[in-house]
Structure formats: C-alpha cells, structure tokens
Symmetry: C2
Subunit: 419 residues, 2 copies
Amino acid sequence: MTTLHDELLTMGDAAVEAARQLVRLSAARKNKILAAMADELENRQATILGANAADLEAGRAAGLNTALLDRLQLNPARIKGMAEGLRAITHLPDPVGRTLRRWTRPNGLKIRKISVPLGVIAIIFESRPNVTADATALCLKSSNAVILRGGKEALRSNLAIADALQAGGAKEGLPPHSVQMVATPDRDAVRELVQMEGRIDLVMPRGGESLIRAVVEQARVPVIKHYKGVCHVYVDKTAKLPMALSIVENAKCQRPGVCNAMETLLVHQSIAGSVLPQICERLIARGVEFRGDEASRKIVPGIKPADETDWSAEYLDLILAVKVVPSLEAAIEHINRYGSRHSDAIVTQSVSAWRRFSRDVDSATLYWNASTRFTDGGEFGFGAEIGISTDKLHARGPMGLEELTTYKYVVTGTGQVRI
Amino acid sequence: MTTLHDELLTMGDAAVEAARQLVRLSAARKNKILAAMADELENRQATILGANAADLEAGRAAGLNTALLDRLQLNPARIKGMAEGLRAITHLPDPVGRTLRRWTRPNGLKIRKISVPLGVIAIIFESRPNVTADATALCLKSSNAVILRGGKEALRSNLAIADALQAGGAKEGLPPHSVQMVATPDRDAVRELVQMEGRIDLVMPRGGESLIRAVVEQARVPVIKHYKGVCHVYVDKTAKLPMALSIVENAKCQRPGVCNAMETLLVHQSIAGSVLPQICERLIARGVEFRGDEASRKIVPGIKPADETDWSAEYLDLILAVKVVPSLEAAIEHINRYGSRHSDAIVTQSVSAWRRFSRDVDSATLYWNASTRFTDGGEFGFGAEIGISTDKLHARGPMGLEELTTYKYVVTGTGQVRI
C-alpha cells in the first residue's frame, strides 16, 4: 500500500511540475508538439502493435468476449486514426489565454477574466486504447498535464501509446511527465488517484456506471462524469407525423449503443392512437423491441409490458420503452423523474409547448423538432470532445476544449489600496 | 439514523420540487418575493430576537467565548441590515435566462447556450445567523432552492429567520420549501446532506477548515469551497517604495482577520536591504509581529525566526511571515508551493515581471500594483457575494449570482436527424 501511495504521489508531483511548465507554452509550440506526437505514434507502429498483440493474447487467455477484444484491438488504420486525430486538434483555436470579460472599476482597477488551464487532469477509462491519444491531445491543447489510468486488459497498449506521445512531444519541447500512464493494474490506484487533493484538479471517469460510482464515492478532488444517457423523445399532440416518425427512428436506430440514443418514447394521448401504430410498424421493421405501459399496449397489442425499471433503463440496444402521457406537463414530469439529465427532444408545432419543455426539463440539451443524436462535440461544432457531462457544475453537455479550462482574474492597478 | 436519513431525504425531495417551480418565476416575481421576505424579517423582529436571546442564553451557559457570542448576537440594527441586504439584491440583474452563446450549424440547427439555475444548493455554515438571509437571497435571485444547515449554537435564530423568509416570500408566490433549514443539531445531518446525489446539486461549506475538510471527505455531490487565504505580496526589485509600503500596509493591516489579507511578504534580495527596514518600521507601528527567514532577520534583527509552518499559515491576525527571495522565479515558486490559490500581488514597475507573475502564479486573482484586499464580490462590482472559491472547477475567486447558475443547450430544428 505505501509503495503504491508513494508511487502515485510521485506521479502527482511530476504532473504538477509539468503543468507549471505547460502554462508557458505558446499555441504554436503546442501545435508542434501535437504534430510530433502524431508522427511518433506512426513511427512506433510496430512497437505499439506488438504491445497490443500481447494484450490481445492475454485477453483471449482470460476469456474476454469478442466485443471487448474488438475494442481492444489496434491495427495500422486505428493507429493512423489516432495520429490524424492529434493532427486535427492542431487546427482548433487555443482555448487558453482568451479574455472572457474585462472591465474597469471606479477606483481605476482594471479587471480581466482570462481562460487558463485547469492544471492536472486524471482520466480513468476502460478498454479502448485510443482514449490515451485522444484525451492526451485535448489535455495538451488546453495546456493541462494528464495522468491516465486505463483498463488492465489494455495496459501494455496504453503504455506504449503514452510513451510514444511523451517521447514524440519531447522532441518539440513537451515538458517531462506531461503525459503519464499509471502502470500498475492494482485497483487501489484509482482510489489513491482520486484522493490526491492539491495535485489533481479534475478527475474524469469514462466507462460503465459502476466505475463512475466508485470514483464518485472515493473522490476528494472534483469529478465530472456522465452516468448514463436515458434520453427521451416526446411526441406532442401537434406533432407533424412524418417529422415525428423520422426523428423517433433516427434517435433510436441510427446508433442505438450510444448515450444520446433515445431510450424512452413518450406520446401524447390525443394522437397516440394514430401515431403509435405507425411508429411501431416503422421501428419493428428496424428490429426494435417495444416495452410499453398499459395505454400503449391497448393501442398496439404486440408491445410487451414495461415495468418500473424500464423507465430508467439505458438499453443501449434496439429496445424502446414507450408511454402514453395525458399532457405536456406529464411528459416533463416523467423526464425529470426518470431521465438522466442528458438530452431530450420534443416534436411539436407549438412554440409555447417548446418554450415550456425547454424551460422545465432539467437536462443538459433540449431539442425542438430534432433528433437527440446531435448531442456530441463534433455535431455541436466544438471540433473535439473529451466527453459529455450529465453534471451541472463547471461543464454540462458536450465538453470540448473550453471545458478543460478554468479562469483567473488578473487585476492591474496603480497603487490602489482598500479603504 | 434511519429517521435522520428519511428526514433529510424528505427535505431533499421537497427542495427538488421547489426548484422545479422556481425555474418558472419571472425576474419581477422573484424581486417581489425578495422584498416580501425583507418586510417579513422586520415584521417578525420580536420573534427573531426572542429566538436569538434563547440561543445567546444557551451559548453563555455552554461557555461560548465573547467573540462567538458577538457573532451570534442579533439586534434591531442587524435585522434591518439583513432586510436591506435582501432589498439590495432586487436591484441586481437576473442571472438566469441569459444567452451565453448562440450559433447555427451547417445543417440548420440553431444552438443556444443559456444560463439556468443549478437547482438545489446546500449551504453549511457556522455561527453568524445573517448567513441564512444573505445566502437565501442569492439562491432565490438565481432561482435555486436552498437547504441551510447552520451551527447548533444559532439554531433557534436560524430557524426563526428561515421561517420568516419562507413565510414572507410565500405571500408573493414563493413555492413551498424553497428555503429549508435543517432543524436537528445531529452532526450526522451534514454527512447525509452531502451524500444526497440527485437531490442536491451543489454544497457550499462556509466556515473553518475542519468543517470544510469534513464536507469534502464525505461529499458525493459537488462542493465549492474555500479552505483558506494564504495571500502574498511580492515586492519586486523595480518596485516603487512608497507604493510598496502603502500596498503592504493595506494588505496586512486594513482588516487582518479576513481571507484576502496578506499573510506572507516576499521581497527581492536586491532591494530588501533598503525596503524591509521601512516596511517593518511602518507595520510594527501598526502592531504587526514579523516572522522571517534568515536573510530578513539579518536585515532587521528584531524579526522572530519563521519555521516551515509559517509559510502556509493563515494567521488572520497582525502577524506577517517575511522572506527574502533571490528572483521573481523564486517568488513564484514560493507562492505556488505554500499559497492557497487565493490572491497574490506583485509590486513592480516591470511589465514583463507582471506578465510572468500573472501567468505563472496559479491563483484565482493576481494583482499588479494593488492590494490583495480587493478580492471581494463587492469590490469586483458583482453586487453581492456568496463566497470566494479557491477551487478551479465551475467558479474561481469571488462568487456572485452568475456563479450560482449553470447552463443548458436549447437546440431548435426543423426535423433534422443525424446521418
């Protein structure tokens, strides 16, 4: 225990020192570092694939299923993809050093609020080794040091990638220890990491709900997280049918395994009789299984009964919970009660229904006549995404580079003192 | 335990329901509520003073010291002060519903980022009953429900004030349970409160370091805190002496018991011989006791020796740690190592020294040729202050009404689906 504790403190100290140096890098310097990281990833392709092959072999021996093995697997195309991802970040604007606000006080003090890096960010993630490159790129672009902790099944791959990033970046002046990967598979490392107040400024867990809950319970440093996406589409009484069909189909079927896919459909009772059979027909043809309340099952007898757990289920699959609601208010109430504050849509021709929905639903992103699938840094035009927050503090919804910064006030005077 | 747990869950549920109703209130309605709260505080003066007298009597019996009793004591002037504080908040702009950013995507989706309330805010504080009124006013103005937990020595006073606020506000449409005070003195209530994920959106502990550390260790909901203010003034080699003297005196002596007062003075070695004796003369005349490193004690032999603990001490008193540093870099290094990321000042005529200082010192507020004492919501022009954050997430430095809001994205489309 003491050894692990000390090992992580040493990493934390090194990251703090790296962060102090990172604030001094210009935007141009950071972009050169990112480009050099990308080149080094490609240069070290053989080493990285070798490490990955060892991970895969160990994974097969440990009985990992095909889906997990696929997520773990790297190949030349995936390595190129990581490198291209790093290069793409060089074209984004620098998120630090922006003047967010400036004003002058009556006593002549000039106050400027400017964006600055957070400092040291810890990313705790599962399986996919590309997270190592993607997260590092965003942290570096925002002048943050990063400590990564990946899944133990990908440890060799992650270490090889992190080494390439640090070594490649160093050629262009990346401070030592700007990118560190926790090398021990010891599960206690996570607890140690998230309790390093003063050394780590933000922890972002990325993975399943149990990982995230464990981090939240143990953390003493701030956490930004995303438990799950229980997204809703509410088809209001004035919805246009073709639009409702198209949005519902897209929100459920276009990519069911992601957090911004719809999990529950709500339909106003006055149109449920005409709309629901058509929705079911269309989605059943796409392979969707419905689980509904009593009212929906009266309209479409083939729907299986839903129980209480269905309303808060994140299926991530071609399954859809469906409920007939008596009013807009009931839809809002349902979403606030069972949703995950992620993304919810209303299909309606009524401006006042939209206003009410967008004001009263307590979610990060609300849509009027559009699919929930647009909640994404790329779709929002952020150029990159480090994650999606279902928290309310600091960052909410898709998180891009700006969300990896904080601010400071710089105040210039001419000798002012307080009276 | 179960009873306390259930009691707090019930309060949490009621607060969530209140928060849902609070988002619907207009700015004008909230201001009427604030005014009615102020009136009711004055109407109930006798009741509040009666409750306060009982607290004071119990406090004396329990042997509270004079300073604590003074902080606890209310009188007609203090009640009027609370009421006037509430009325002043009515004149501030509404922090919710502001459009923070808006843009249109190539597919026609219009995205608007708007400020919205956080939801339910828990404030855990010590002694002064006026916090009940001040914090409630800021939470309500930002459309948040509030759960307050004060010190047990002020429980009767706090309950009387909270009752007046809720009852007065109700006359103008304040939703039930918008303002709730935890009525039990049971210490476990704090732990229960800070673990109510999903019911409480933010906890703000206000008080001594031990209270704050306990909250951080137990919390599962986000916390914004302020451990302490170890603020520095660094007198650089090109500082103008009269300005340095005036800033140092102000930062230490104008109000030594507050978090933005200077606790450590750093002086560049090239001017320490001439500057330090004059600073000491001036401050000793104001009753300041110095604790210095060896170099400073060679210059001013009367200075007591400082030990390692002095560099991170928050004296909140007429005591000043002093150190002679060989360079700007050493000053920055010292502040980053021992400071509390609160407020630090440089006195210099060099623009490049200021640029370096403001970039490299990792604190919420940096001053160039001005006293650290300006770190304050009022002095910044925020109109009100709920606290000062030494955290980096969400809010940093003085926190006004804007910092009690989060944002949501509202996205309007014409049937867009993701391809």
